[in-house]
């Protein structure tokens, strides 16, 4: 959920009018089973309170509401209820919930220090992996049961509405999240199948039961030296995924050279000498190729640096935890942005995307409202801005006045980076 910047009333009023123009000229497609869903809306006006526990009997009712109110943010429940407009969960009577995956650039580790546009590109690529590798791949969901949505902010949502998943409990959904996150996967052991009655892998990324490792959890077999053999890349589950991730890293290093390999290993925390030695082995001495061909790690004396193994896991897992305190997927009462509505922090459309559109999707080109037939708008910049990714590259210094396409003006206004001339002079209180 993007941050909502506090704006002065004339500016809000101007932004509200743009939202109204959008909602009056568009047909928002209601989500499946929408009469059983709860809707919630944040208005522009500070006087009006958030509206919750609303439900709509028809698509016309919903559209009428959107045209009338043109709210700043619109959400609907991933859950559907017998009585969606009742105020308490008990009275609502939960019937089921879509399975939602939220991939937000804010929570991607690699996103730190990147611009908004770069973060979105990263999020798009990880989202693509999430959809292809996990949702349509291992989980086997039918593409027709998966709706992909650009959130209008920093991320992407996947809504799965296959019948088989609707009644999954929160705990059952957590298993799916932990599968994607690779919780409990140790690449050092990932290549071996767990034997009957064997305890979980030694290196756990998640909280471990305080009681694990007694009676039932004792290893039964004699341990071979772990991580000597790789599973075939097409092996089911995590063993195959680790091999694939490892191969991707090897390919990148072989293409990029030993220097790149050594640098990346060092960045991952390996000691310089160790990193150099292994980069040399894997790239220059062709051990990488032997690993790939023989599916074996018995290519050199000495153990693999643990940092390299951690890198493989990082490559293979996907951060879908969402906001750490309120994991989206496991919350079966979650409110989620309504596809087709506008994001109140950017003015971008919350845009459903076809699977094949994902790679071609450019948020700054495709998500702004077209506002067909409207004239450009003068805005005064409140700060230095640089958005080269807008189709009309947008740059300027604080205090400058730019004549911009309406959607770009709306974007800067909602982010608190510009003030539309049409909103009049800035009120005294907000002047620097």
């Amino acid at each position: 959920m993007g941050k909502t910047v506090a704006l002065d009333p004339p500016t809000l009023e101007w932004a509200h009018r743009q939202f109204q123009t959008y909602y009056r000229s568009t047909h928002v497609e209601p989500p499946a089973r929408f009469t059983r869903r709860e809707f919630a809306a944040f208005p522009f006006s500070v006087q009006t309170l958030m509206r919750r526990h609303a439900s709509f009997r028809s698509a016309e009712d919903l559209r009428g509401f959107l045209e009338e109110e043109a709210p700043r943010h619109v959400y609907y429940s991933s859950a559907y209820y017998r009585n969606p407009s009742d105020a308490t969960m008990v009275a609502k009577e939960w019937l089921g919930a879509d399975l939602i995956f939220d991939l937000d650039a804010d929570h991607l580790r690699q996103a730190e220090g990147k611009t908004y546009a770069e973060q979105l590109t990263l999020a798009r690529s990880r989202f693509r992996d999430l959809v292809d590798d996990f949702l349509l791949g291992d989980f086997g969901f039918d593409p027709r049961d998966v709706t992909l949505v650009f959130s209008g902010g920093r991320g992407f949502h996947a809504h799965v509405h296959a019948d088989a998943v609707l009644t999954l409990s929160s705990g059952e959904r957590r298993e799916l999240v932990e599968y994607i996150l690779g919780v409990g996967v140790d690449p050092r052991e990932g290549v071996r199948e767990m034997r009957e009655g064997e305890r979980g892998p030694g290196l756990s990324m998640g909280p471990r039961s305080e009681l694990a490792g007694t009676e039932a959890g004792r290893p039964t077999g004699v341990r071979q030296r772990p991580f000597q053999r790789l599973a075939p890349p097409d092996a089911p589950g995590w063993p195959g995924r680790i091999t694939r991730a490892f191969f991707r890293i090897l390919t990148r290093w072989e293409d990029g050279g030993a220097e790149l390999a050594a640098r990346e290993m060092q960045e991952a925390g390996a000691h310089e000498a160790v990193a150099r030695e292994w980069a040399d082995r894997l790239v220059r001495q062709g051990k990488g190729r032997r690993i790939r061909e023989g599916l074996t790690l018995d290519v050199a004396a000495g153990d693999f640096p643990p940092e390299l193994l951690a890198q493989i896991l990082e490559q293979a897992r996907i951060d879908v935890q969402g906001e750490t305190d309120a994991p989206v997927t496991t919350d079966i009462h979650r409110l989620i942005r309504l596809p087709g509505s506008l994001h109140g922090g950017t003015g971008f459309r919350v845009l459903p995307l076809a699977h094949e559109e994902l790679d071609r999707f450019e948020p700054f080109r495709d998500a702004p409202v077209p506002f067909a037939g409207t004239s450009p708008v003068d805005v005064r910049l409140l700060t230095d801005v640089s958005y080269p990714t807008f189709p009309e590259a947008t740059r300027g210094k604080e205090g400058e006045t730019l004549n911009l396409p309406r959607a770009t003006a709306l974007f800067l206004t909602l982010r608190g980076e510009a003030r539309p001339a049409a909103a009049g002079a800035a009120p005294t209180s907000s002047r620097p």
Partner: protein, 390 residues
């Protein structure tokens, strides 16, 4: 009798062998003229007796490990009817604990058979799975089932090897070994049994049953079931419990009032020795002021603390000061063992009840060594309302 199609006959065969399967109740008509006959007819006295044995054995030993020789000797008809009678009995029982325990025990019993057929009679195994609503398919490595079914069946299992992240998952299907398939189905049977209680009975059937089994039902309601181990954690050995804990349990069983300090000690001890949450709550059912929701709340408080480690059980010294130490023996106890002085309790190293349990050979969760060495003070019991462990 009308001619039936082959699939129907196959289902009927399975119903007799696996009486928990949906639809199996319809077989009662084949064995007994009416429900009334089953409840009161002299011809069915043996089936009723076996039914009571099934319920009582499950209440005493829900892990289902104790062999029921009477049941093994019974003919298939009697076995089937005794299962149905047990289900009737539990449908009119006044508490839910016996039903929960019976579900675990019967699922375990069924799984023993299923475990055999996974390899030998895969057709039978897949048919049972299908009737339970969790279709599986034999595969080279065992059995395959859908991801959603796998999640539903494994959700209640604590063993790390059942976590999805460790499964052979591809294209929406999980492949598991035959042994794990049987374990998963056992869980499906347990859930199916516990959700099928109470059976929907006509009021006159209910009344007749309650009247006919008055004594048995009263005994069942007062019986304080032995705690069960948490799944996949460790084996709970009640015979290794220290004298103080055994005494506390006897008091609650007899409906005597156990002081709050004792209730706290019992819950904390049972949790550390690996008892299942629900069965810890059950331990208080005999208390004169028992209230299910208050007890659950309090046991939850005691067991959930510290990331699930729970409160530290009180030391022997604390228990002695509260008059809850019975190392000298309990003269009122029915068993000689409980009346006798317990030498182990007098060993100088023995400072807390969990240690006694461990020394006797039970597995208990103790404080981490470092913390214990630092002498970290155990948090004391919290003030409580009445009706449960304090």
């Amino acid at each position: 009798m009308a001619v039936r199609g082959a699939p129907a006959v196959a289902d009927r065969d399975l119903w007799a062998k696996y009486p928990f399967l949906p639809g199996a109740e319809s077989l009662i008509a084949d064995y007994s003229p009416s429900l009334g006959e089953l409840i009161a007819g002299p011809a069915y006295a043996r089936a009723r007796e076996l039914g009571r044995i099934r319920v009582r054995a499950a209440a005493d030993d829900p892990t289902g490990t104790a062999a029921l020789t009477e049941l093994d000797r019974a003919d298939p008809d009697e076995r089937f009817l005794s299962f149905m009678y047990a289900r009737l009995l539990l449908s009119v029982a006044s508490t839910t604990a016996p039903g929960r325990r019976w579900s675990v025990a019967e699922a375990r019993r069924a799984a023993e058979r299923l475990d055999e057929v996974t390899e030998r009679l895969p057709m039978e195994f897949t048919a049972v799975a299908r009737l339970l609503g969790f279709p599986v398919e034999p595969s080279t490595g065992g059995y395959r089932l859908t991801l959603a079914d796998y999640l539903r069946l494994s959700a209640g299992l604590r063993e790390p090897e059942f976590r999805l992240v460790h499964q052979r998952l591809a294209r929406g299907e999980v492949e598991v070994s035959a042994g794990r398939a049987a374990r998963l189905l056992q869980e499906g049977i347990r859930v199916r049994l516990s959700t099928s209680l109470p059976a929907d009975l006509a009021p006159e059937v209910r009344n007749r049953l309650q009247a006919a089994e008055l004594d048995f039902l009263r005994d069942l309601a007062q019986r304080v079931p032995m705690p069960m181990q948490r799944r996949g954690v460790m084996v709970l050995r009640a015979e290794y419990f220290p004298p103080c804990i055994r005494k506390m349990r006897r008091m609650l069983e007899k409906g005597e009032n156990l002081a709050h300090s004792g209730r706290f000690a019992l819950a904390a001890f049972l949790h550390r020795s690996g008892a299942d949450f629900d069965t810890i709550v059950d331990a208080y059912r005999g208390a004169p002021d028992f209230d299910e929701s208050i007890s659950r709340y309090q046991v939850e408080h005691i067991t959930q603390r510290d990331g699930g480690r729970g409160y530290e059980p009180p030391t022997c010294e604390t228990l002695r000061s509260q008059g809850l130490c019975f190392r000298e023996g309990d003269p009122a106890a029915p068993n000689a063992v409980d009346r006798a002085r317990d030498a182990l309790c007098f060993e100088p190293v023995l400072v807390r009840p969990t240690l006694y349990y461990r020394l006797r050979g039970g597995a208990a969760v103790e404080r981490p060594a470092a913390e214990a060495a630092a002498g970290g003070a155990a948090p004391g019991p919290t003030p409580s309302r009445s009706g449960g462990p304090g």
